[in-house]
């Protein structure tokens, strides 16, 4: 069935089963592969996007529930201050989890201009990084808050 939703400011109409996770619509149907598949169970955060501005795990979000709503993906951030600090501090190693990390960090800073360590822990502990970039992620969030 046809479902229309807004991705990065542009309306998209897709013909997929309504139970298809937003993750796979983005990756396979729309060819936007920046949003990553990590666990399929909202345990790792690699698939994090913004749904109406809220950090959301797209692997557990059926496309049917997204009709008419606004989705922002890593491709739609346009090199925001979080991404700029990620570059300044060379945060990524393998980089696979980083779109999800950046989406979570961007959502955090949108709600909280000056997050404490505890705020960062709370907002970011849903995003796993196996390479261990956590110290740089923390530093980059703080730097972006000041930027």
């Amino acid at each position: 069935m046809n479902i229309t939703f807004n991705v990065n400011g542009k309306n998209q109409t897709v013909d997929v089963a309504p139970d298809t996770p937003l993750l796979w619509v983005l990756r396979d149907t729309l060819g936007m592969t920046g949003t990553k598949f990590g666990c399929g169970k909202a345990l790792c955060g690699a698939c994090t996007v913004h749904l109406n501005g809220m950090a959301t795990r797209s692997c557990q979000t059926p496309i049917g529930s997204v009709a008419g709503q606004k989705v922002t993906t890593i491709e739609g951030l346009g090199m925001n201050k979080v991404q700029q600090q990620w570059i300044a501090l060379d945060v990524p190693q393998c980089g696979y989890c980083q779109p999800g990390q950046i989406m979570s960090a961007t959502a955090l800073l949108a709600m909280n201009k000056n997050p404490s360590d505890a705020d960062i822990d709370a907002a970011m502990s849903g995003n796993i990084c196996r390479c261990g970039t956590y110290p740089r992620i923390r530093a980059a969030i703080k730097a972006a808050a000041k930027a």
């Binding site: 089963a17 396979d28 592969t33 920046g34 991404q83 393998c94 696979y96 390479c131 261990g132």
Partner: protein
């Protein structure tokens, strides 16, 4: 190995295949490894296998190691650019196809692993850059009819007498025909401008931060279909029969095919393939391991450990010295299976046609893929083109080529269409090759003053190499099973070390730092036990017994190969001073130390932990002192230490894969716990030891992973008095200790 040739690309393929690779470990892949990568048909020239220069002056550097986070896509180009005299920030990075010229001399294969990339490339790639530059200079000199000494290279340009100037791009076609210089002098370390630049950024960060397609799983090719797979949940199981009547009628499904280790559904999208796959009814033949569980695995290991084992290091008479010792300390450490679990689940895009195959895959071992895909499809190795993507983590998992074979079989069975096979997290975690579980029994005999006069080490574990590279296993010894202990760093007059190889039925795999994570973890916990038994400070005790000789080891594997006592002493003293060792800590807090040489890098770590009355542990602070020789890319050397600490923390605090009813019990991150932001240490301090003159680089991708683990276990002992000998360091295991 220097194999710089003057030749066209096609010739390069032919002649490079005739050049032998390094055989440090005796492993060798016979036969021609074909490079079917499409020739661009001109537009660029290749003075050698690492440098491509376009007529438009665009310089590409071929990177023959896989980028899995460790930074080779920057550090390798830095080494070439240092001598080629180009701006490394402007080069294009291309991942090299499989070819013998790209063999890792320390491993004998085109493999990314063993913390060898920089060690192998240190001279090789600088010489490649210098050789290409000399050929460009020679070409310009010939063009201008002047002596080569009158031409110099500067940032991608050739400058001659009386204002003569030519870009590399203009000189490149002629340069590629010039004679390859035999004598290639290199800049002294003191003249480096690129290598060692503390401000150098990773070249791949912008694309990764923007979410640009980079990884294997991001691959899209025309006409591509998606495959989801049903693999045996049983270890060693096979398909007995399957019913696809519901699956094949699901929307988008193009084919349901059986392949060697399962059944695949091929569909228009991954989600359609996955939904249909869930409707397959597969009956499995459980195979030889039926009923396997941890009780049986540990009982098997314990029984095997009663064998004498193969002796891999011995001096004096340990048994006699032990029987005469004033005091003995003995302990057995039990270390569990671990999963690699990189964030990108295994995947491969395969297109197997009648006369050729294209395999696009995140792999650490591209050289093996043409051979195994040929075996699986009936093609010849030279008909198999391999494209290496960025890897979403590797950690040793992607040295295995199983998933590339699977995708090739599925593509062929589905009628030769391009197929992207993607594993679920559950597929990945339950079809890993696991860090082997093992038993590590140690006995020390000491005099009344606590000085160790005899040391006995006896390990029992599966051999990874016996499965993957059997030719390197000799006389019952797998060199990768004795690393981290064959370089025992302490001076003890009587030692005996033995290894029992025991297959537990669970596929063992090379896991970051491999057996350093077993042997050195057990050893450095045990040395702490000896210090406690002797009533000595753990750092002073270690310092008192360092082997300061220069003895060469029989099995040196990827280590320094000789005793490195002075380096260990310096690292231990520095970590003592930098960490504030000896300062009083609050109740419930503890500090622990560990030291190790691995991959010719010496690391000493002090950790600080807080342990609650319920034995919940938080890792508060990590101080590491690292002697890794010269650093090519200092900021990413730091990143590798941060990475190792994180990986080791996850492993020792929570990592445990278990088997029940012949199935892996953990299948996602809710059951296999790894460190998250709130658990990462709030303070990690890395201190680097200044390299000695002419000291070569050591490896950094792995060793820290091993060293941090005993440092944490020893800190828990300091905090609680509990000596945990069964890992992981969970509240249950600490309470039971």
């Amino acid at each position: 190995m220097e194999t710089i040739k003057n030749q066209s690309r096609r010739d390069f393929i032919k002649s490079s295949a005739a050049v032998g690779g390094g055989l440090a470990l005796g492993f060798y892949l016979p036969g021609t490894v074909g490079v079917a990568q499409a020739d661009a048909g001109g537009g660029y020239a290749m003075p050698n296998a690492w440098v491509k220069i376009g007529a438009d002056n665009k310089v590409s550097i071929l990177v023959a190691r896989s980028e899995m986070g460790q930074g080779v896509a920057t550090s390798m180009p830095m080494l070439v650019a240092e001598e080629l005299d180009v701006d490394v920030n402007k080069v294009t990075v291309e991942f090299a196809p499989p070819a013998e010229v790209y063999i890792n001399s320390l491993l004998g294969g085109q493999i990314t692993g063993g913390s060898t990339s920089v060690r192998d490339a240190w001279e090789k790639l600088r010489k490649a850059g210098a050789s290409a530059r000399m050929m460009l200079v020679a070409a310009a000199a010939q063009e201008w009819g002047v002596d080569a000494a009158q031409v110099r290279a500067e940032n991608g340009n050739l400058i001659g007498p009386s204002g003569k100037r030519m870009s590399y791009g203009m000189a490149a076609p002629k340069a590629a025909q010039m004679e390859v210089p035999k004598d290639v002098p290199l800049k002294p370390v003191s003249a480096f401008k690129v290598v060692g630049n503390a401000k150098q950024k990773r070249l791949d960060t912008p694309q990764k931060v923007k979410g640009e397609p980079s990884f294997g799983i991001d691959t899209r090719v025309p006409g591509m279909m998606y495959a989801a797979v049903a693999m045996s949940p049983y270890l060693g199981g096979k398909v007995k029969s399957y019913d696809d009547s519901r699956a094949k009628n699901m929307p988008g499904v193009k084919a349901v095919v059986q392949y060697s280790r399962g059944v695949a559904v091929v569909a228009d999208s991954y989600w359609q393939a996955k939904k249909a796959k869930d409707l397959l009814r597969v009956e499995w033949d459980e195979g030889a391991n039926a009923g396997l569980n941890m009780q049986k695995i540990w009982a098997g290991l314990r029984t095997a450990s009663e064998q004498p084992g193969a002796v891999f290091r011995e001096n004096g008479n340990a048994d006699e010295a032990l029987s005469g010792a004033a005091k003995t300390v003995t302990a057995t450490y039990q270390l569990p299976f671990l999963s690699h679990s990189p964030m990108e689940p295994q995947n491969t895009t395969a297109h197997v046609m009648a006369d050729k195959a294209v395999i696009i895959t995140p792999t650490q071992f591209q050289q093996l893929i043409p051979h195994v895909v040929a075996g699986a499809t009936g093609l010849k190795p030279e008909q198999v083109e391999v494209q290496t993507t960025y890897l979403g983590g590797g950690f040793g998992r992607r040295v295995e080529v199983d998933y590339a074979i699977d995708a090739a079989e599925i593509s062929k069975a589905a009628g030769g269409i391009p197929v992207k096979m993607v594993w679920s997290r559950e597929d990945d975690m339950t079809h890993d090759s696991y860090r082997p579980a093992g038993l590590y029994t140690m006995t020390a005999g000491m005099d009344a003053g606590g000085k160790v006069s005899a040391f006995r080490f006896h390990s029992t574990s599966p051999s990874i190499s016996a499965r993957l590279f059997p030719s390197i296993v000799k006389d019952g010894i797998d060199p990768f099973a004795v690393e981290g202990i064959d370089n025992f760093p302490y001076a003890v007059a009587n030692t005996k070390m033995t290894y029992v190889m025991h297959d537990s039925g669970v596929t063992p795999g090379y896991w970051r730092a491999v057996s350093h994570n077993l042997n050195a973890v057990a050893l450095e916990c045990f040395i702490d036990e000896c210090a406690a038994a002797a009533g000595k400070d753990p750092i002073e005790y270690r310092l008192s017994m360092i082997d300061m000789s220069q003895e060469k080891h029989k099995w040196s594997g990827l280590s320094a190969g000789v005793a490195v006592g002075p380096r260990i002493k310096t690292a231990l003293e520095m970590v003592r001073d930098k960490s504030g060792w000896g300062r009083t800590m609050a109740k419930g807090q503890g500090r622990g130390v560990a030291v190790m040489e691995g991959y010719n890098t010496v690391i000493a770590i002090v950790t600080e932990v807080t342990v609650t009355p319920n034995y919940d542990v938080s890792l508060d602070r990590v101080v590491a002192v690292v002697d890794a020789g010269p650093l090519v890319h200092p900021d990413q050397a730091l990143a590798q230490m941060q990475s190792c600490i994180n990986f080791g923390q996850s492993a020792c605090m929570w990592g445990e894969i278990t088997v029940n009813d012949n199935m892996i019990e953990q299948n996602n991150f809710d059951m296999y716990r790894v460190a998250r932001m709130n658990e990462a240490p709030k303070s990690i301090e890395i201190h680097w030891i200044k390299p000695a003159a002419n000291q070569p680089p050591g490896g950094l991708g792995e060793p820290g992973t091993a060293v941090v683990q005993p440092a944490i276990a020893n800190a828990i002992y300091a905090a609680t008095g509990k000596r945990v000998r069964m890992l992981p360091l969970t509240p249950e295991n600490i309470r039971a200790a």
